[in-house]
């Protein structure tokens, strides 16, 4: 039956990606002739050949963060996470966009492919090295990673911006309606989060970049959307499917809904909060429970939102608030939102301590809280996602240029894209955006970060450069 065959194909497709990753990792440690490698190769061939026979050829493509086999996107569970992520990184590092396996595979061809793949990892022109290495093979061919055209990039940015601001405007409207005691349409929140999930799956860095701007007038609304975006991004790293990402996004979007009862003067107080004001501020998780239940009843997403609203300040070691007795473990989503919330709050002005931190400093502090306030494993995933130099970090380059991190580099964390704000002669600029992964003809990097600075200390308006 067709359906059964499809299911088998999907399962085999997953194995093809997983096993390729295993072979490459093994070959990184052992020589191609080592028994561990040859055994893995034999296994891989046994997997590939029947599929090649039925499908004529196997096209493995990397599009965005996903692998496709013969045009079909391959979803994976957490079990496959390490191997899938490894392969994504290695493909990107070599700028490989696709590999096509055709004819009948044999061990010699696959060993040649492996050898070329490993050698290209040490090359300054990895794609070309790889291409040359397998040139003689007729059974395996590669193609270069497709670059997004400049005008497409502009359009994508527009779409991402629209998604972001629609979400913020929705939250603003939601607050107004609740305050006015009006009925709220929750369907919209789902649709808005679904759009954010879609954008995140396609353009993770662009959407995360939107969260780096913290100077908006309406901090609370932007914070709620930012936490939602960062939570979805973290959830995506954990391999949650779209449906679960949407639920996570909604719970994160509503995590601070309890602040609707926090007096405006406290919420937007320019100075430090008094003890009494803090006491009121700390009521928002409990108020959030009430607000959500009044708004949404007991569907599964609402229940999840209640849990996250209540737990997002409790902390991993239960040292936070509200204080609880006889409590069970914290919810996974609460732990995710807690990390996203802390990061966004710390890197923003006008909250709690009122002193915004540069992103790298915030990450350092969060690492100190690992295992105490924050879940250590989730935090690792989060830091991997945000990068060593998160978007919005002010960086001094070895070329005596000053820049702002514009887009993280997933493969080379210390080589993000940077928008130059002062050139090497000390002149103020608004661009260009340069990739720190660029090399000159001798293979040396054109630019490297030598120092990070706090953009808040110098009142640098990130929006001017990032929006």
């Amino acid at each position: 039956m067709a359906v059964k065959e499809d299911r088998e194909l999907i399962s085999s497709a997953k194995d093809i990606i997983n096993q390729l990753s295993i072979i490459l990792r093994t070959a990184n440690i052992h020589s191609p002739s080592n028994i561990a490698v040859t055994t893995a190769i034999e296994k891989y061939i046994a997997l590939l050949n029947p599929l090649i026979k039925s499908e004529r050829s196997i096209l493995l493509e990397l599009i965005g963060e996903f692998f496709y086999i013969n045009g079909m996107r391959i979803r994976y569970s957490l079990d496959y996470l390490i191997n899938f992520n490894f392969l994504v990184r290695e493909f990107k590092k070599r700028e490989i966009g696709s590999v096509i396996f055709k004819d009948f595979m044999n061990p010699v061809d696959l060993q040649t492919f492996l050898k070329a793949f490993i050698e290209s990892g040490f090359s300054d022109t990895p794609y070309d090295t790889m291409s040359e290495g397998i040139d003689a093979l007729s059974s395996i061919k590669i193609d270069r990673l497709k670059k997004i055209k400049e005008d497409e990039d502009v359009d994508t940015r527009k779409i991402v911006k629209k998604t972001y601001f629609t979400a913020v405007a929705y939250i603003q409207g939601l607050f107004s309606k609740i305050e006015a005691g009006e009925r709220v349409n929750i369907k919209k929140s789902k649709r808005i989060v679904e759009a954010m999930v879609d954008r995140l799956l396609e353009e993770e860095q662009l959407l995360i970049g939107m969260t780096a701007i913290k100077d908006y007038d309406e901090y609370t609304y932007h914070h709620m959307v930012n936490v939602s975006i960062l939570s979805i991004a973290l959830g995506q790293r954990l391999g949650l499917n779209k449906k679960l990402l949407a639920v996570l996004g909604i719970t994160a979007l509503f995590h601070d809904i309890g602040k609707i009862r926090t007096p405006y003067e406290i919420l937007n107080k320019p100075g430090d909060l008094t003890d009494d004001e803090w006491k009121i501020m700390k009521r928002h998780p409990v108020w959030g429970v009430r607000a959500i239940l009044k708004l949404r009843g007991f569907d599964s997403t609402a229940i999840r939102s209640v849990i996250v609203s209540f737990e997002h300040h409790i902390h991993n070691d239960f040292s936070g608030y509200p204080r609880v007795s006889n409590y069970m473990d914290l919810d996974l989503y609460s732990k995710i939102v807690c990390i996203a919330d802390q990061y966004d709050a710390m890197t923003s002005s006008r909250v709690y301590s009122r002193i915004p931190m540069p992103p790298d400093k915030a990450i350092s502090i969060m690492m100190e809280r690992s295992g105490i306030q924050l879940d250590p494993v989730l935090l690792k995933f989060f830091i991997n996602m945000i990068g060593v130099f998160p978007i919005g970090t002010l960086v001094m380059l070895d070329t005596k240029e000053l820049g702002l991190v514009f887009e993280s580099n997933e493969v080379m964390g210390d080589r993000p894209k940077v928008v130059i704000v002062i050139d090497s002669n000390g002149n103020r600029l608004k661009g260009p955006v340069v990739s720190l992964a660029q090399k000159d003809e001798t293979g040396r990097y054109l630019r490297s970060i030598v120092k990070t600075l706090d953009p808040n200390k110098y009142n640098i308006n990130l929006a001017e450069y990032l929006l």
């Binding site: 405007a169 100077d215 908006y216 449906k243 849990i307 990450i363 350092s364 103020r428 953009p455």
Partner: protein
């Protein structure tokens, strides 16, 4: 070979009709049903045939129309079964099925459009069709959605205003230069303090198991939180809200057949009530929860669960009903008459036996229920409770219009033997209905006192008693034989010896009854008397006497 344009349109029209038909069929038959499977396979075959010639099928959706390749392939001006309107109203403007469409995807697509029809009544549902389609994450079905509804009630100009405002602040050139100067100072590459450490395999495994655990039901957690919220309440408003949510949970859980969650919540609530540290105000509100579970609304939901095919385990039901107060009596009685299954009625009766003890008056007041079968059940419940205070109420029910109720009352009065019962039962022995008379006799027998005996002997001795049916008389004598004392023995012996020339047939019946009962009394002294009748001509008397003799001789 390519399809001609007209043929192409015809094929799409037919395909669409198949799709509409499949939508209906899938609503009617469960997954796996042969008709379900065949319909799905037929539709999929149609798609596949279309894709033999085309790479994709794009349908443009209008309010009443569906257009393919500029040709209208569907039109329905009505609202009923209008697939175009159905898709259109949720914002779908275009659907494309791709050549690589899988049968599994097609089935999932149909499931979505079926679900939506079922939910038409649910205005508050959070999911619309677009969300359901989105969640399916189809690879070979694409759709275009009109998102304008998202912008209703949203400040459309928000983006422009926010961007203008945030950009407008600008960056101070001097500050920027200062940053640059600070950056240039000591331009030695510093090692990043933060290094990226990918999670270890074991950590990912740990996370995996946490994620697996995470998929479990969250209701228990929600209840824990709501009790925490209750404990954090500051003032009456907070307490009132908390109780309202707990009530909502009880209602929601029972609506979904989940009695465990309710028991869990009530257990926690009880803990709060019993806690000496709980304030009186908090206790006052918590008590409201217990009052709520006894309301008609909740008891009706309980009834629905009891009547459902899954039912409720006896122990579980008891754990729930233990929380019920006397206020639940009236609602429980109300559903008692509405329940469909014997098992459910039995459960409610058992519950009422327990709760009824808490307020006899409230339970007895239900004897006024207009449904005779409910009244009979209440009489039964009162009998099971066995509290003599119920006798007064029962006596008032003696005259119930339905004989089945009266019989139950009589039996109950007999078993309860309360003050005034004997007198009423005595009167019932003269009732025009034989069933009532027999029931009364039995009840009097159950009372078993000397006064009761006396009444029964008197009634049996009356002239009109002789005229009654043999079985009724036999029953009355049998009841009399329970006393097994000299009075009864003498009386029975007297009847047996009594000769009559008038109405000999009736007299033989009485004598036979007396003979039979002498056997039941069990005193061997009467054997000589019985031997005398063991060979009489009257067949009935002879046989009954022989039975009685055998009984006495064998000492049974």
């Amino acid at each position: 070979m390519e399809l001609t344009e007209d043929k192409d349109i015809k094929v799409v029209k037919e395909l669409l009709q198949k799709l509409i038909k499949a939508k209906k069929t899938l609503r009617m038959y469960p997954q796996g049903n042969p008709i379900y499977v065949k319909t799905l396979e037929d539709l999929y075959t149609r798609f596949k045939s279309f894709f033999d010639y085309q790479d994709e099928l794009t349908l443009k959706i209008g309010q009443n129309t569906i257009v393919y390749d500029s040709e209208q392939v569907y039109y329905n001006p009505g609202k009923e079964d209008n697939i175009a309107l159905f898709l259109f109203k949720d914002g779908i403007r275009e659907i494309t099925f791709k050549k690589e469409l899988l049968q599994e995807e097609l089935e999932e697509f149909l499931k979505v459009i079926v679900v939506d029809f079922d939910r038409e009544m649910d205005e508050m549902s959070e999911d619309d069709m677009v969300t359901l389609l989105w969640e399916k994450d189809f690879q070979n079905i694409q759709y275009v959605v009109d998102e304008t509804f998202l912008m209703d009630e949203i400040d459309e100009d928000y983006e422009r205003k926010a961007v203008t405002s945030v950009k407008g602040r600008g960056t101070d050139v001097e500050s920027l230069q200062r940053a640059y100067a600070d950056g240039l100072e000591g331009m030695v590459k510093d090692e990043k303090k933060v290094s990226i450490m990918p999670p270890a395999f074991e950590e990912i495994q740990m996370l995996g198991s946490e994620m697996e655990k995470d998929s479990s039901d969250k209701m228990e957690k929600l209840i824990t939180i709501l009790f925490e919220v209750f404990s954090h309440a500051e003032g009456e408003d907070d307490l009132e809200d908390s109780i309202m949510f707990l009530k909502d949970i009880v209602r929601f859980s029972l609506t979904h057949g989940d009695i465990h969650t309710v028991i869990n919540a009530l257990g926690k609530a009880k803990g709060i009530l019993d806690d000496s540290f709980t304030t009186d105000e908090a206790k006052k509100y918590m008590k409201m929860l217990f009052i709520y579970i006894g309301t008609e609304e909740i008891i009706n939901l309980l009834g629905a669960i009891l009547d459902s095919s899954s039912g409720v385990d006896e122990d579980i039901l008891k754990r729930f009903t233990d929380f019920l107060d006397k206020d639940a009596i009236a609602p429980l009685v109300k559903i008692l008459g509405d329940l469909k299954t014997i098992r459910a009625r039995k459960s409610i009766i058992e519950t009422l036996i327990t709760i009824g003890r808490k307020d006899m008056q409230k339970l007895a007041a239900q004897l006024n229920d207009s449904r005779w079968y409910v009244v009979r059940n209440i009489v039964f419940i009162l009998r099971r409770i066995g509290d003599k205070r119920a006798v007064d109420y029962l006596l008032k029910t003696m005259s119930h219009r339905d004989i089945r109720v009266r019989k139950e009352v009589i039996r109950t009065l007999g078993e309860m033997n309360g003050q005034g019962a004997l007198q009423s039962l005595s009167e019932c022995l003269d009732d025009s209905n034989a069933e009532i008379r027999i029931a009364s006799a039995r009840a009097i027998g159950n009372i078993g006192t000397d006064a009761a005996k006396k009444i029964l002997i008197e009634k049996v001795s009356q002239k009109q008693f002789k005229e009654r049916d043999f079985n009724e008389k036999k029953e009355a004598y049998e009841i009399l034989s329970r006393w097994k004392d000299a009075d009864v023995l003498d009386y029975l012996a007297g009847i047996l010896k009594k000769k009559s020339f008038f109405g000999m047939g009736r007299n033989y019946e009485d004598m036979a009854c007396a003979a039979f009962c002498l056997g039941l009394v069990g005193n061997k002294e009467v054997l000589p008397l019985l031997y005398k009748f063991s060979d009489v001509n009257n067949k009935l008397l002879r046989e009954v006497s022989q039975i009685a003799i055998k009984r006495l001789e064998l000492g049974r």
